[in-house]
């Protein structure tokens, strides 16, 4: 947003400041590859200092509280800063403490997350030495960041153990609170083969009550038990605690946000982007990227005193690693489920939607470069528009 706005707002009138409590910026999609030694630590982290756009201030402090009624941010060191317009981009975090036993004696010993740098790196260190057993890949509850990541993790694990020659010693089970690994009609039809092909067991409709660290099993509210030797879990995802401290969020600390304009529902000079919102789009990086384009326009409209564009359509565009150096691509929005087709050029591609291909895999790997060098600089991806395109999609009428 700072990269977009610094180019569009007159310097004499506007002072742009980024507030971030961290000194580092992570390429979070890379956390999926770190456990399998595909990426190294240095591939997924850069110092924030080098990423701040020219002409933008950077405050590296922890925010104690946002006071939207006073247009103020209070820092933990008792300093404060005023604002005319606030963009909340506080993201989401894992909250393993929400489930009994999850952050217990087994945490990062035989219970891992891969949604944090530490979790992903510790899991890599574990997997380098692991000789096999029961691996359970588990989703605690929805919504989660990058909803396809646990499935990708399962597919990549299958490939990883095959390459290591120990696949026959590893039992992979995918445990989800949803009714299946695939819940949308077209995906269910087209992708149902994947789990069977890769010999991945599935336990659907599993709502976890506790992690039993002593007996190494997870237990659901209706008494179903799934034993593990290593549990790779996606804990509850919540908005940042600063949202809770500021009284600005829902029960998961996500900020109520207008889903088409990205304006906060409660404060007209507060806008929200990415995982921090409660909009019913995927919590994915591509969503934040597309949102940024609409939000930039809307902030300029807001400043001009004009009506905001009700434009954002929930557009999401995600590569899904399926293992064996292949990936799929999905492109969808609030109303349109992922379907097969060609992307970004209708009828041509070169990428294929909802179908495995080697080219899609290269697309996913190329994305790391695109992220650091284009997305963070606010450069649009060529031929990929902020709103989802119907052309190129095989949409059958319902």
């Amino acid at each position: 947003m700072a990269s977009h706005l610094v180019k569009r707002l007159p310097k004499k009138d506007w002072n742009l400041t980024i507030v971030d409590q961290s000194k580092d910026h992570y390429y979070q999609p890379g956390f999926l590859f770190l456990p399998f030694d595909t990426y190294t630590e240095k591939d997924v982290v850069k110092s924030i200092n080098g990423l701040i756009p020219k002409g933008v201030n950077y405050i590296n402090k922890v925010v104690d509280k946002i006071e939207p009624t006073n247009n103020q941010i209070l820092f933990q060191d008792d300093q404060k800063v005023d604002y005319d317009i606030l963009i909340v981009a506080t993201g989401s975090r894992i909250a393993p403490e929400e489930i009994e036993g999850m952050k217990g004696s087994g945490w990062h010993k035989d219970v891992y997350d891969f949604y944090t740098f530490e979790g992903s790196r510790n899991l890599r260190n574990f997997l380098r030495k692991w000789e096999g057993g029961k691996m359970v890949v588990h989703i605690t509850e929805m919504p989660i960041k990058c909803p396809v990541a646990p499935l990708e993790f399962s597919f990549l694990a299958d490939s990883f153990f095959k390459k290591k020659g120990i696949r026959k010693n590893v039992d992979i089970t995918y445990v989800t609170p949803l009714s299946g690994a695939f819940t949308k009609p077209t995906s269910s039809k087209k992708l149902g083969y994947l789990l069977e092909e890769k010999d991945i067991n599935i336990v659907p409709d599993f709502n976890i009550m506790e992690v039993n660290n002593d007996d190494k099993k997870i237990v659901s509210y209706d008494g179903i038990e799934v034993p593990y030797d290593v549990l790779v879990t996606v804990p509850t995802n919540m908005g940042d605690d600063v949202i809770l401290r500021s009284g600005m969020g829902d029960d998961l600390n996500f900020v109520p946000t207008h889903k088409h304009t990205l304006q906060s529902k409660n404060h007209e000079n507060v806008f929200v982007i990415g995982d921090a919102t409660d909009v019913p789009a995927s919590k994915a990086g591509s969503v934040a990227h597309f949102e940024a384009e609409t939000l930039t326009d809307n902030i300029l409209l807001y400043i001009a005193g004009k009506d905001l564009k009700e434009e954002f359509d929930g557009h999401s565009n995600c590569f899904i690693e399926t293992g064996n150096n292949k990936a799929m691509l999905i492109d969808f929005n609030y109303d349109q489920e992922p379907v097969d087709g060609t992307f970004p050029i209708a009828g041509v591609g070169p990428l294929r939607l909802l179908k495995e291909s080697v080219l899609n895999h290269w697309g996913k790997l190329a994305f790391r470069w695109i992220y650091w060098n284009m997305l963070l600089k606010g450069i649009p991806i060529p031929m990929v528009s902020r709103n989802m395109k119907i052309a190129g999609k095989n949409i059958t009428s319902k």
């Binding site: 909803p147 989800t176 659907p204 409709d205 509210y221 509850t236 029960d251 889903k259 999905i330 992922p338």
Partner: protein, 103 residues
């Protein structure tokens, strides 16, 4: 696609969930409840179903956590009311979409 539930023609998806909430009524709920082996709907069932419908109408995503903290019921009771996948079954009976992922 269309289906006849409780003598009424309604639009449903492949899994039998109503695709137009406006077509829902209590007789439809009772018939789906029998199909889903929940049996007769008690006053508590109806309270929970109305809560879920209200959340849906306000575009609030449904999760077990939200239902558990709603004050309307708790998670254990929700399982007892709709055994074997409470959100999946309760949403079907309530005539609203079940929670889904992005694929």
């Amino acid at each position: 696609m269309e289906a006849t539930i409780a003598g009424i023609n309604v639009k449903v998806n492949e899994e039998g969930y109503l695709t137009e909430f406006s077509q829902w009524n209590e007789d439809i709920a009772k018939e789906i409840s029998v199909q889903e082996e929940i049996g007769e709907l008690t006053e508590k069932h109806w309270t929970v179903l109305k809560y879920l419908q209200n959340q849906f109408e306000n575009e609030i995503p449904l999760t077990i956590r939200k239902v558990g903290k709603s004050g309307v019921t708790n998670i254990k009771e929700f399982y007892a009311l709709f055994p074997g996948g409470p959100l999946k079954k309760a949403t079907k009976i309530a005539g609203i979409p079940k929670p889904v992922g992005c694929i």
